[in-house]
């Protein structure tokens, strides 16, 4: 099976697609950061005991006054920017992934039910989705966060509330076309109940397009979370994500202390860029309409 995959058209096309390779290399680097980020730096930026105000606002090491201890400089609390970025990346990525997983589970379930049963249930679910789609997702998230207050759990709930719609719509569409196929009728003739038909027969056949949706959504979520944190309604100040790091540095950006803001900015851009490059490749490969 593994050998079959390696010689498949998917792998063949991947090898010839420079941007897909670039995207996945970026993602590999970020995966390493998420797994082993804290091991790469000496300072734990969340541990106040390790911070020294004497080290505040040190420039990057290649500038005058920079030190090798702080390769990308420090912020106002003497926190190593590199360490902050590595820890912050973890927060951002984990929020993006968890919110994606939660949206996917909830959205897929609702989409399956709407597509399978149709009728009033379908109408209700899809009208909610339509109404929600008529507002910018940022606005909804912002509204929810202002209502809930800051916190990682609240960010996750807000992002999920924004993100389930796209799964529900995609899954409902695929379900509607799968339900008409004869293998579903065959499952009925075999005596399967609805729940089993949905789980065993429909779910596996509507998953493929979700891979693309999910990949791109992680990028979107990271950006929304960064925006929320930038606006001060996202993650708490004790566990800064990349967005919050940018905000913290933004206050002093025009005093010439650019590094505290710019480095997390570059990292978030690289991360979302990598996700989108790889997402585009997946879309081209997995979308049957383009094939």
């Amino acid at each position: 099976m593994a050998a079959g995959f390696l010689s498949s058209e998917f792998v063949h096309n991947y090898k010839r697609n420079a941007s897909a390779i670039a995207g996945s290399l970026i993602l590999v680097v970020f995966a390493l950061i998420v797994v082993a980020g804290p091991l790469m730096v000496w300072q734990n930026p969340y541990d106040i005991a390790q911070l020294d105000l004497m080290d505040a606002f040190k420039p990057p090491m290649w500038l005058e006054g920079g030190e090798a201890r702080f390769p990308f400089g420090t912020d106002g609390q003497g926190r190593d920017v590199l360490a902050g970025v590595l820890y912050g990346t973890r927060v951002s990525v984990l929020i993006g992934l968890s919110a994606m997983a939660m949206s996917c589970v909830i959205g897929t379930t609702l989409g399956l039910l709407a597509g399978f049963y149709g009728g009033r249930l379908d109408a209700v679910i899809m009208r909610i989705a339509d109404i929600q789609l008529s507002f910018p997702s940022m606005l909804i998230a912002l509204f929810l966060m202002s209502a809930f207050g800051t916190g990682i759990d609240k960010v996750l709930i807000s992002l999920t509330a924004v993100g389930w719609v796209v799964y529900a719509r995609t899954v409902r569409g695929s379900t509607l076309s799968e339900v008409q196929k004869e293998y579903i009728q065959a499952a009925r003739v075999a005596g399967l109940r609805d729940g089993k038909i949905i789980r065993r027969h429909i779910l596996p056949n509507v998953m493929t397009p979700l891979i693309v949706v999910a990949t791109v959504q992680v990028g979107t979520f990271i950006l929304i979370e960064a925006s929320l944190s930038f606006l001060g309604v996202g993650v708490p100040i004790t566990e800064p994500s990349l967005g919050l790091l940018i905000k913290n540095g933004f206050d002093v950006l025009f005093s010439g202390l650019w590094w505290t803001s710019v480095f997390p900015g570059i990292v978030i851009m690289a991360l979302v860029f990598g996700i989108n490059l790889f997402g585009d490749f997946l879309r081209d490969e997995l979308n049957p309409r383009l094939k």
Binding site: A186, A187, V189, H201
Partner: protein, 340 residues
């Protein structure tokens, strides 16, 4: 002796979907929301004895597939009775139907769409039987039986671990047949089982189905639009038009002495490689009317070259014409017009 299957006055209506807005009509200053109903099957009755092959023929939209799927209880019938070995299952729910499923199974038309692409062949074939089975020991027996079934329909046991896309259309149809056989049913409903296959493969599948009938004493309800296939496989034939059974009888009656004008038209329209055959006896004009709005009287009168006044006023019912055949046509009462 009770029949394997007895269908009595089966009707099936489908409500055309659509929201209130789509159905909204404005008529004489009044707003109404008419309920459009497709009358797919209009009072069909027939019986199939054990080991008998009954074919339903007709053109697309005549309701033959709906009859099959309603009997298989993929749909709930609007009215009428469906007796499997004397037991009326027309009103059964999913739970009550489960034991019935082991006496009646189905083979589908599309060898591509009728198998779940994400399931392995052994899981596809075992599915109906597993629903009837509990306990691990019994499940192990199911696995053995699955391999035996694959061999029975002409596949290798090493095929069991593969996915449907690795097979040709004919092989997929064999998998579908093995699935239907898994519960050892007495009746198999076959909905156009060979119409999606190439002719050379078609012959293989028809031969397989007939061999299995001889071995297991199966009864088939065989749905087809192909008269040459029906002539080959069926003991008895029912001809359907617009949801009505217009003629039914033993194979020889339908093919040698058809009485209903539609049956005759159907037979003369079918192309044949035998050039010697006589030219069209009856040629039809126009097309089948909509099932949303059935004609008054006889459903076939709008295309019937022999239609007369009574056909518009009165709907004919099936009447015996001898030799086990029944015809729903006013001409049986007035043989003089038939000759004209």
């Amino acid at each position: 002796m009770t029949a394997m299957l007895e269908v009595e006055n089966l009707t099936q209506e489908f409500r055309l979907g659509g929201s209130l807005l789509e159905r909204m009509r404005f008529d004489k200053g009044r707003l109404s929301f008419p309920d459009k109903r497709v009358k797919a099957v209009n009072g069909v009755s027939f019986r199939i004895a054990r080991g008998e092959v009954m074919a339903l023929v007709g053109e697309s939209g005549c309701g033959k597939s709906t009859v099959a799927k309603t009997i298989a209880r993929i749909y709930r019938p609007t009215g009428g009775k469906i007796r499997i070995e004397g037991e009326d299952i027309a009103g059964y729910g999913v739970r009550e139907l489960l034991p019935v499923r082991s006496r009646m199974q189905m083979i589908f038309q599309d060898p591509y769409a009728s198998l779940n692409p994400r399931q392995r062949v052994r899981d596809i074939v075992a599915e109906p039987l597993l629903e009837q089975t509990t306990g691990t020991a019994a499940r192990r027996e199911v696995a053995e039986r699955t391999l035996a079934l694959l061999a029975k329909v002409g596949l290798n046991t090493e095929h069991a671990g593969r996915y449907p896309h690795q097979f040709s259309g004919g092989q997929r149809q064999r998998i579908g047949i093995a699935r239907a056989l898994s519960v050892n049913p007495g009746l198999i409903i076959a909905d156009e089982p060979v119409s999606a296959l190439d002719v050379s493969i078609q012959a293989q599948i028809l031969n397989l189905m007939m061999d299995l009938r001889d071995e297991f004493g199966l009864a088939y309800l065989f749905i087809s639009h192909d008269l040459s296939v029906v002539h080959h496989i069926a003991d008895r034939v029912g001809v359907m038009y617009l949801g009505f059974l217009v003629e039914t009888g033993p194979r020889e009656h339908i093919f040698s002495a058809p009485r209903h004008p539609y049956t005759r038209a159907l037979l003369s329209a079918a192309p044949s490689i035998e050039k010697t055959r006589s030219r069209p006896e009856i040629e039809l004009k126009g097309e089948v009317p909509s099932a949303l709005d059935l004609p008054s009287g006889c459903c076939f009168r709008t295309r019937c070259p022999l239609a007369f006044e009574r056909c518009r006023l009165e709907r004919p019912t099936l009447k015996p014409v001898g030799g086990g055949a029944e015809v729903a046509c006013h001409l049986t009462d007035e043989p003089d017009r038939d000759r004209a």
